[in-house]
C-alpha cells in the first residue's frame, strides 16, 4: 500500500503542479498554428449514402501560446491578459488556448432514405485560421 501510495503521488505530481499542460504539446511543442486534417467519408465507409463530397479538409489548431504573442498568431487582446495572468500563477491559470479564429462551411449531399435526398450546409466545419484566445 505504501508503495502504491508513493507511486500514485509521484504520477499525480505533474498534474497537481501544472494541470493545464497540453498533452499534445509534450509530443511536439511549437507555436499555435493550423494543422492538416482530412476527414474522409470514404474511409468511414459512408460513400453508400453520402453522395458528395468524398471527404473534406477540416484542419485543426495546435501548438502553444507562449509569451510574447506576436501578430501572426492572431492573438486576441484578452489572450495577452490571459498570458500575463498565467505567467504570474502558472500552476493555477492556463495559457491562452490555441483555437480557430475563422471557420467556414461545407455542403454535404446524402440520402435520407432510398428515395429522398438532402443537400445541407454545415457551418463552422473548416478551420480557415488559428489564433490564441
Amino acid at each position: 500500500d505504501a508503495r502504491r501510495k508513493k507511486k500514485s503521488e509521484s504520477t499525480n505530481w505533474d498534474y497537481k503542479t501544472n494541470p493545464y499542460t497540453d498533452p499534445g504539446a509534450t509530443f511536439y511543442s511549437r507555436t499555435c498554428r493550423i494543422q492538416t486534417l482530412y476527414v474522409s467519408f470514404r474511409d468511414l465507409q459512408w460513400q453508400d449514402w453520402i453522395i458528395a463530397p468524398d471527404g473534406y479538409d477540416a484542419y485543426y489548431c495546435s501548438g502553444e501560446c507562449n509569451f510574447p504573442l506576436n501578430a501572426h498568431m492572431n492573438a486576441t487582446n484578452h489572450a495577452i491578459v490571459q498570458t500575463l495572468v498565467h505567467l504570474l500563477n502558472p500552476g493555477k491559470v492556463p495559457k491562452p488556448c490555441c483555437a480557430p479564429t475563422k471557420l467556414s462551411a461545407i455542403s454535404v449531399l446524402y440520402f435520407l432514405d432510398e428515395s429522398n435526398v438532402i443537400l445541407k450546409k454545415y457551418k463552422n466545419m473548416v478551420v480557415k485560421s488559428c489564433g490564441c484566445h
Partner: protein
C-alpha cells in the same frame, strides 16, 4: 488511426484507434451531421444516384454552390445551369438555403378515389427537419417530345391541385399552380408548390398529395392523361421521374437549442 505531423513535414502514426473508439467517433460525426444513425433503409439496398432527385441535387452541388461561406456565390450568368434548367429564381433560392431536400413521387393510392385522367402524386415529407423554415418548393416534371402515338398536339395547360378530402370517392381540390406548355417544348417543367409543402409539414395528417391535371389550352373541360403529352410519370425513366424540391433556411433560435441539448 491517429496521425500527427512530426514537425518535419511528415505525417506519422501516433496511435491506432480501436474498433470501439472508431464506432464512438462515427457516432460523434453522425451527431454533428444531425443524424442519430446512418439511414437504416439503405443498408441492404444502397440507393441509386442515377434517379432524377439525387441527380438534381448533385447538379446543384457541382455547378451552383460557392466553395465556402465567405465566398460570394458566382454570378448567376457564370454558373452552369446543368441539365435541370435552373432559373435565376432557382439560383436565388439555392443561395438563400441552408438545406435543400428532394422528395420522390410515390403512388399513394387511396381506396375509393376516382383519378379520372389526371395523376395523383404523393410525397413523404415526414423527414423535413423541424428547425427549418420553408423558403420555397417546386414540383419538377419532365416532358419528353418524342412520344410515340401521341394524339394530343398543340399547347396544353398543366394545373396542379392539393387534394383536400377523399370522402365517399369524391375529391376536393385546391388550386396550387399552373403552367402553359407549347407543342415542341422538351425538358424540365417547374410548378410552385410552396404552399402545399408548408401545409403538409405543419399538418402531416392532411398530406393527401397533389393532383396533376392536363388539358388543351383552348379546351378547359377536356382533360387528357399527362403521359399522352409526354410527361414522364413515377414509373418512367429513373432520371426523368417527377420529384418535389424544397428550399429551407435554418432557424437560428431552434438550432442553438439543439446544440445545447447535444
Amino acid at each position: 488511426g491517429v496521425y500527427v505531423d512530426n514537425g518535419f513535414d511528415q505525417t506519422v502514426v501516433h496511435r491506432v484507434v480501436s474498433q470501439h473508439e472508431k464506432r464512438e467517433l462515427e457516432h460523434e460525426f453522425l451527431n454533428l451531421l444531425g443524424l442519430p444513425d446512418r439511414p437504416r433503409s439503405i443498408i441492404d439496398m444502397p440507393p441509386q444516384v442515377k434517379r432524377s432527385a439525387p441527380k438534381f441535387l448533385l447538379d446543384i452541388y457541382k455547378n451552383a454552390l460557392g466553395e465556402d461561406e465567405e465566398e460570394k456565390p458566382a454570378a448567376h450568368h457564370h454558373r452552369k445551369a446543368g441539365e435541370f434548367d435552373l432559373t435565376g429564381q432557382d439560383l436565388k433560392a439555392i443561395d438563400q438555403s441552408d438545406v435543400i431536400m428532394t422528395f420522390a413521387a410515390h403512388n399513394h393510392h387511396v381506396p375509393g378515389v376516382r383519378h379520372e385522367r389526371g395523376k395523383r402524386l404523393w410525397f413523404d415529407v415526414s423527414e423535413v427537419p423541424p428547425q427549418e423554415y420553408i423558403i420555397g418548393a417546386e414540383l419538377r416534371l419532365y416532358r419528353s417530345a418524342d412520344v410515340k402515338g401521341r394524339k394530343n398536339h398543340g399547347s396544353h395547360t398543366i394545373t396542379v391541385y392539393r387534394v383536400l378530402k377523399t370522402e365517399n370517392g369524391t375529391r376536393e381540390l385546391q388550386y396550387v399552380d399552373a403552367i402553359n406548355m407549347t407543342t415542341n417544348q422538351e425538358g424540365w417543367l417547374t410548378l410552385n408548390v410552396t404552399g402545399a409543402l408548408d401545409h403538409w409539414v405543419n399538418n402531416p395528417d392532411e398530406n393527401r398529395g397533389l393532383y396533376l391535371s392536363v388539358h388543351p389550352a383552348d379546351r378547359l373541360v377536356h382533360e387528357v392523361r399527362p403521359e399522352d403529352i409526354g410527361i414522364v410519370e413515377f414509373r418512367g425513366d429513373p432520371d426523368k421521374q417527377p420529384f418535389m424540391v424544397g428550399y429551407f433556411k435554418s432557424s437560428g433560435i431552434r438550432e442553438s437549442k439543439v446544440r445545447q441539448k447535444r
